[in-house]
């Protein structure tokens, strides 16, 4: 079964601290993984996708097939990073995104 697990409902850190938002997945084959972010009162938007291997707003995520993980990392958190973060993958047919339940990141000064 295809599944995305985000074990933390809430992650609270101080400004300048490193951040790691965990995402584990269950998928047969090569998954296509994404991180979406939703800032307060804004729509859900793409943050990054693993095939692009890019860094957006200082965030990176590396696909680890051995651990079936796609954790989102940032070395120094900023207050404007406070948001809800969803990890997602495309289903085997490539027709639907399967989302995790999301992690709320709260960055305080």
């Amino acid at each position: 079964a295809q599944r995305v697990t985000q074990p933390e409902k809430l992650l609270s850190v101080f400004k300048g601290a490193p951040v790691e938002l965990k995402c584990n997945y269950s998928y047969s084959g090569s998954p296509e993984l994404f991180w979406y972010v939703q800032y307060s009162r804004q729509r859900l938007q793409l943050l990054l996708r693993h095939i692009s291997r890019e860094s957006i707003k200082g965030f990176t995520a590396d696909l680890n097939k051995g651990e079936t993980s796609f954790h989102l990392k940032k070395p120094f958190a900023q207050e404007e990073d406070s948001a809800m973060y969803y990890c997602a993958l495309y289903n085997q047919a490539g027709t639907a995104l399967i989302f995790g339940k999301g992690t709320t990141l709260s960055v305080s000064s």
Partner: protein
Amino acid sequence: DAMVIQNPRYQVTQFGKPVTLSCSQTLNHNVMYWYQQKSSQAPKLLFHYYDKDFNNEADTPDNFQSRRPNTSFCFLDIRSPGLGDAAMYLCATSRDNRGSKNIQYFGAGTRLSVL
């Protein structure tokens, strides 16, 4: 500029009274999706259109229907809303649903309340 527009932002309906939610897009994307997101849960895909082809998820209740009269518009119809249908409904679009063109762009959502 909003590219995926959902109306209304908030909708209140009565138990059993049909309701329609609207989504429009200015991206000229081929694919339009409807998701249901209940409180503290992940968005869950109800169905999607690839052009005019309708694709229903296996576990989407029959109470939920959709129409796509043209490329720009897609509607979600709930024939007889129950209390359990109260949720945020998200519309999304993508240029395609395979390969590098499958990034999904979301609307702001419609929050449905059922009294």
